[in-house]
Symmetry: C2
Subunit: 125 residues, 2 copies
């Protein structure tokens, strides 16, 4: 079973935290293409949250192209790679993140260093 840790005091919604951690799991190769995720009921009980909260996370992951959902089989990691779209989505998020950084006097080189660090983090997992 994949490592999952929900912070119930976070201002981030539980289903968003869960979605992000599953994406971390994929990015760090803890879970791979073809792997099964726990069923919504199973994972809900394991974490101690409602079935629908897990279902919401799974539905978003499906919509965003990270998993496929099948009856009986459950959720399977299946990345739908639309690189053009992915880069566009990334760019949109980076605009906000980097605008904040620029205001705080962070340079392009410093931002690039952090990007490199994070890529190294994910290569190991």
């Amino acid at each position: 079973m994949m490592y999952v840790n929900i912070d119930f005091n976070s201002d981030e919604a539980i289903y968003i935290q869960l979605r992000n951690q599953i994406i971390y799991g994929i990015a760090t190769s803890q879970i791979q293409e073809g792997d099964y995720l726990p069923s919504v009921r199973e994972l809900a009980e394991y974490i101690g949250i409602n079935m629908h909260t897990v279902n919401k996370a799974y539905s978003i992951l499906k919509q965003e192209g990270y998993v496929k959902l099948d009856r009986r089989k459950g959720a399977i990691i299946a990345i739908d790679i639309d690189k053009m779209q992915a880069i566009e989505d990334m760019k949109e998020e980076l605009r906000v993140t980097l605008a904040k950084a620029i205001c705080k006097d962070v340079s392009c080189q410093e931002a690039i260093e952090v990007v490199k660090e994070i890529f190294k983090e994910f290569e190991r997992g």
Copy 2:
């Protein structure tokens, strides 16, 4: 007056959109250190939203170290530069953004290219 454009159909809260656009304004040097923002009542009427929604945006900007608020004078751009903190905050956001990108097969070099593009965007504004 700074350019502000709120999308009322967005899933992003109005006060968050407003905060982000003010940060864009600073990052692109449309507004600078020492400049005044419109009063909460003035900007609210201009955009067509409630005074408290603008106040919420200003309060967050204050808390995050982008403005100072004075009675009578209103809100003044005043960047509190804590670079260590800024880089740490940036890193935390980048972890989510880049994890998604990595799942979609985006390389480190491609991410870096996008960072460079955005820095160029902001240099001009």
